[in-house]
């Protein structure tokens, strides 16, 4: 029997849904790929035709959440007065959407999403690129020009630091993360502005 693209997409969706439910109920560590396959109504081996590892399923869930955040943020765009405010708003919406996965994200942060990771899965790569593209767009919108690779890498490192802090943040409603995010954004934008000044020679200079 030929498996159509629609059937493939539907099966993939079933796997992701089942994983979402099981991660929420039992945690990431206690959920096996076999259990996910069973809950999705497919054979254990079939699951690997769609996702190479359990981490990849988690990455897919994170990418879905990031896409939803992107949509919500686009609705809000235009409200912010500054790059800092926009950037903070963008990350904050992302955190809100990622919240159901908060406890399980450590594994991604330590591997695929890590700023120093050499290779990453497609889902993670697209998540990272989409996020950084939005950040670069916001910088252009606020007349900060094109962000160089170092700026993007620095941003990603700080962002990952915030996420890492967030997954274990024990403060009520993770309010410590809000303070950390505010500081990190201010730190990044402060650096960016200093860099901008350094690279723009003053009038009269060669």
């Amino acid at each position: 029997m030929r498996v159509t693209a629609e059937t493939k997409a539907a099966t993939r969706e079933q796997i992701v849904d089942a994983a979402r439910r099981l991660f929420a109920a039992n945690g990431f560590g206690a959920t096996t790929t076999r259990a996910i396959a069973r809950a999705a109504g497919i054979a254990a081996g079939t699951l690997f035709n769609y996702f190479a590892t359990k981490d990849a399923i988690l990455a897919c869930l994170a990418a879905d959440a990031a896409a939803a955040a992107q949509l919500e943020f686009e609705k809000m765009t235009g409200q912010a007065d500054s790059f800092e405010e926009d950037l903070f708003g963008y990350v904050a919406v992302g955190l809100r959407k990622l919240k159901p996965l908060r406890k399980h994200l450590t594994v991604l942060l330590e591997t695929a999403l890590c700023p120093l990771a050499a290779t990453t899965a497609d889902e993670v790569q697209s998540l990272r690129l989409a996020h950084l593209e939005t950040v670069a767009c916001l910088a252009r919108k606020h007349h900060l020009g094109e962000l160089p690779p170092m700026a993007l890498q620095l941003y990603w490192t700080l962002y990952m630091g915030v996420l890492m802090f967030w997954v274990t943040d024990g403060s009520p409603k993770q309010e410590d993360t809000l303070a950390l995010l505010d500081h990190s954004v201010a730190m990044f934008v402060g650096w960016l502005r200093r860099e901008g000044k350094r690279e723009t020679p003053a009038e009269g200079e060669p």
């Binding site: 007065d81 170092m150 890498q153 303070a179």
Partner: protein, 471 residues
């Protein structure tokens, strides 16, 4: 091209604010930075604070600074040598952490006046206090009230119209039509203050055998109590609700209503009182009688809270009062109130009875009881100074007729006496003495600026009488 790890670390370190010695990065990244082990005492202290310690610092400085705004007319005292040392230290750290202690000493030493250098340092640090932009504010409101400000309020002004205890105040309108002021706190301040003080006490333990330890600890306890209370908006809401019914229309004193359904420990929604602050009021050159009337209302508000509410209004600075167009006085901040328990109340009454006679012997007896001064000859000088200070502070209560609070010579005399007490490190006596001294000086400076000439004795008598406290 992907930057190298070394490049990234270098840029990360450069991205850190210039005034921060210890990296304020989350641990996994900070660990990568491979910092050297701290060895010196101050280095250890500087590593104590959490990321938000800096915010707490900014807050403490903001709070002190608020006392000195518009104080140009006041004499600036020169700093003592240990002050300069403290300042240099503070400056080099650029961070509160260990400097909380210095702030505490500062408060004990100079409740209302500081050397110019210190004020300038405070100014610079104050500006580090981050205002909340709309995105952060929205997250805080969402966290605290469960939805975006636009969905909770009929209207919400995105721009803050005033700074508050490590937060800011926004104009808004409830869906039921009331105009309100919404005070919102910067995230995680209260917990940070609590944690940092815990660390600070631990760190100071080796110094507990020093002569001044008890004194320092009292000052720190006082500072901690104040900071913790001021960051608990729910407590402030309770004080507001307790104080508001004490005032009636004929008093001409307004205490805003609280809206509990729109308030939490970090968001306080209250009735908006429209008026001007002291500077703006004085700039309109109001006539003497009007200034006197406002001064009477300030005193009446304080006596009413003490006699009828058994509360000391400990946060006395000009920003907490509003001068309304129709002659009413608004009292708008209840961030730091000190409840008077039965034991203290009995003592207060006894001391007050003795002090308002104006007789020196009564005063000496009262001072001895208040400050636990013994017959020991070593205490003679302390007794002399405390008695002189008390005579100064209470003169308006035992002299007949209107008292001229605008007399500059008299005002300076009070400052000199207080400074001398502090410079000699005389123990302030009861734990709440610091609060009372600050209150004393706060009200005196307000009345001085109003150049008020009023009969304090009559107001106090009236207030005491109407609450069954006798003449």
């Amino acid at each position: 091209m992907t930057p190298s790890l070394a490049d990234l670390l270098r840029e990360l370190m450069r991205a850190l604010p210039n005034d921060t010695e210890a990296p304020s990065l989350p641990e996994p990244l900070a660990a990568v930075a491979l910092r050297p082990l701290p060895v010196g005492r101050w280095q250890r202290l500087s590593l104590l604070g959490t990321l938000q310690a800096k915010i707490a610092a900014a807050y403490a400085f903001y709070w002190i600074r608020s006392w000195f705004q518009n104080a140009e007319d006041w004499e600036r005292l020169r700093a003592a040598v240990h002050w300069r040392t403290a300042l240099r230290l503070l400056d080099s750290m650029g961070y509160l952490r260990g400097a909380v202690m210095k702030v505490g000493q500062t408060l004990a030493s100079f409740p209302d006046i500081v050397p110019r250098e210190f004020v300038e340092t405070l100014d610079r640090l104050y500006f580090d206090a981050p205002p909340m932009h709309w995105s952060l504010l929205r997250e805080m409101v969402r966290n605290e009230l469960g939805d975006d400000p636009e969905n909770i309020f009929a209207s919400f002004d995105r721009r803050a119209f005033a700074a508050a205890s490590l937060g800011q105040v926004h104009r808004a309108r409830l869906t039921t039509g009331e105009d309100v002021a919404v005070k919102i706190q910067y995230p995680s301040i209260a917990r940070t203050i609590h944690a940092d003080f815990g660390n600070l006490y631990l760190c100071l333990l080796p110094g507990r055998l020093a002569k001044e330890w008890e004194q320092h600890k009292k000052v720190l306890d006082d500072l901690r109590m104040r900071l913790e209370q001021e960051t608990d908006y729910q407590a402030e809401g309770r004080f507001l609700a307790k104080v508001r019914p004490l005032f009636h229309d004929q008093d001409g004193i307004v205490v805003p209503r609280v809206y509990p359904q729109h308030s939490t420990a970090k968001v306080l929604t209250m009735e908006r009182v429209e008026g001007v602050h002291l500077d703006q009021y004085l700039a309109s050159n109001p006539p003497q009688e009007q200034r006197d009337e406002f001064a009477r209302k300030i005193l009446r508000a304080l006596y009413r809270m003490a006699y009828a509410g058994r509360l000391l209004y400990a946060d006395l600075h000009p920003g907490n009062f509003l001068f309304l167009n129709d002659g009413r006085l608004g009292v708008i901040d209840f961030g730091f109130m000190l409840p008077i328990d039965d034991e203290l109340w009995t003592l207060f009454q006894r001391i007050e009875r003795a002090l308002r006679t104006g007789r020196r012997d009564d005063r000496i007896a009262a001072v001895k009881e208040w400050a636990w001064i013994t017959e020991d000859p070593a205490d003679t000088e302390r007794l002399r100074l405390c008695e002189e200070y008390t005579a100064w502070a209470w003169r308006s209560r035992y002299e007949e007729g209107p008292f001229d609070f605008g007399d500059e010579g008299d005002f300076r005399r009070g400052i000199e006496l207080l400074t001398e007490l502090a410079m000699r490190h005389y123990s302030p006596g009861r734990p709440c003495t610091g609060v009372i001294l600050r209150m004393d000086f706060g009200v005196r400076s307000l009345l001085y600026r109003l150049q008020a000439r009023i009969d304090t004795r009559a107001i106090a008598k009236e207030e005491a009488k109407s609450h069954g406290l006798g003449p």
